[in-house]
Symmetry: C2
Subunit: 250 residues, 2 copies
């Protein structure tokens, strides 16, 4: 598999850049991460442009590249920039292939835990390190492990409390988590049961949404509408408990 | 160094238990983690009891072990149990040696990022993978990266918002993080500038508090009192910005 090779080799670079990110100035730190971001992005773009010369590419920093095509690669060189800066090894490289039928292939890689997730639409199965994965079988709210995507922005937090306070109080355990790609994959592999985020970006969830669906999970828009990965936000569940069950918990 | 050997070998076991924690039931998952916790704890206790037969030991699951002594080893076999369950590789093994002079030695190890922190009181320096570390030089609130220890418990979140809402809105970036041992060490190594948590346990911060202080940082109680690692909660800073500066930001 071509993509596996490039995503793992850029992952190794990202890993060493994370380890050596030391600087006493905050501004420098963010500049360094941006420079890692651009370096990784360039490698991924070069690879895809070489191997799939007829396809177009969309990437976070570089924007749209290449001729118009009904095959488009969506790249997130570092999903989880803020935790990268804060020193938490929970970030990923995410690559998705979009066609006129939606997301066709998805790849997510955490270079620290060496978790490589992938799925393709025609395969109808998802894999973690080449072994099939499935969502959890949890079927009650009070047994659910639920991730919320809030950062520590005061307005966001108040919004989560207002909209999800009952769920937080009723589920088995709720945790604030960032990095949509990996957290959606943690629903896909059955580690957690749901994940709610109103701020997730297209690049961070394009690949993971296919991985989740092919592992038996469901994903909707944040307003419970049908899922469009181009829109901000999402609600992921294991499919045994519906979005509406989570939304309306008393 | 004896402790480095045992902490790394138990870390490798913990890493593989994390990877293979798969179960469709929430209850099973927590039981499995508890069983990892007890297994790691037993290995650490056996090691210390063999090599330091005159010392006493305190560990989270096992409680107090051994004869009364003015040398006590404080063990946290998994700091960050909830993120372990949720699939986030940000947990650590923490070991501290306490004497009548306070924490004498501290060791913290993340088996995924292979970050091994240690410090000893007499050495007056702290190390990450055997290289000296220092806190950041950030000296203004608006450049500060600040971690908050809140889980998604509604009461906790409201308390953080009331007490720290101004700081969250004024600092460069705030993030909710768990795992006190590693997050305190991220202040010690200069990755972030402050870390505020009212719930941190003794076992999770005993070792890291020495690592922070010997890297130039400061730690106080959550109420800004002088630090006692036996009390819940803490405020850590790089020492360039004081606890009171963070507390009173408008």
């Amino acid at each position: 598999m071509l993509i596996e090779t490039i995503i793992k080799s850029t992952g190794n670079i990202l890993r060493s850049e994370f380890e050596f990110l030391k600087s006493s100035s905050m501004k420098d730190k963010f500049d360094l991460v941006t420079s890692s971001d651009i370096k990784i992005e360039k490698m991924l773009i070069d690879y895809i442009a070489t191997h799939f010369p007829d396809d177009s590419i969309y990437s976070e920093e570089a924007g749209s590249i290449g001729k118009a095509s009904n095959r488009r690669w969506i790249i997130d060189p570092i999903d989880g920039t803020s935790v990268f800066v804060f020193g938490v090894p929970y970030f990923a490289i995410s690559i998705a292939l979009e066609t006129e039928n939606g997301i066709e292939e998805g790849y997510v890689y955490n270079p620290f835990s060496e978790e490589f997730y992938h799925s393709s639409k025609k395969d109808r199965c998802s894999y973690l390190n080449n072994k099939p994965i499935r969502v959890s079988r949890t079927s009650s709210i009070d047994e659910s492990l639920v991730a919320f995507g809030f950062s520590a922005d005061k307005t966001n937090i108040i919004r989560y409390l207002e909209e999800w306070g009952n769920l937080m109080a009723s589920c088995r355990k709720a945790l604030p988590l960032v990095t949509p790609s990996l957290t959606i994959c943690n629903v896909a592999r059955g580690r957690i049961d749901a994940y709610i985020d109103f701020g997730s970006s297209m690049e961070g969830k394009a690949a993971a949404s296919l991985i989740l669906q092919n592992a038996g999970g469901r994903i909707s828009g944040y307003d419970s509408s049908s899922f469009d990965f181009r829109e901000k936000g999402h609600i992921c569940t294991n499919g045994n408990i519906g979005v509406e069950d989570y939304r309306t918990v008393k």
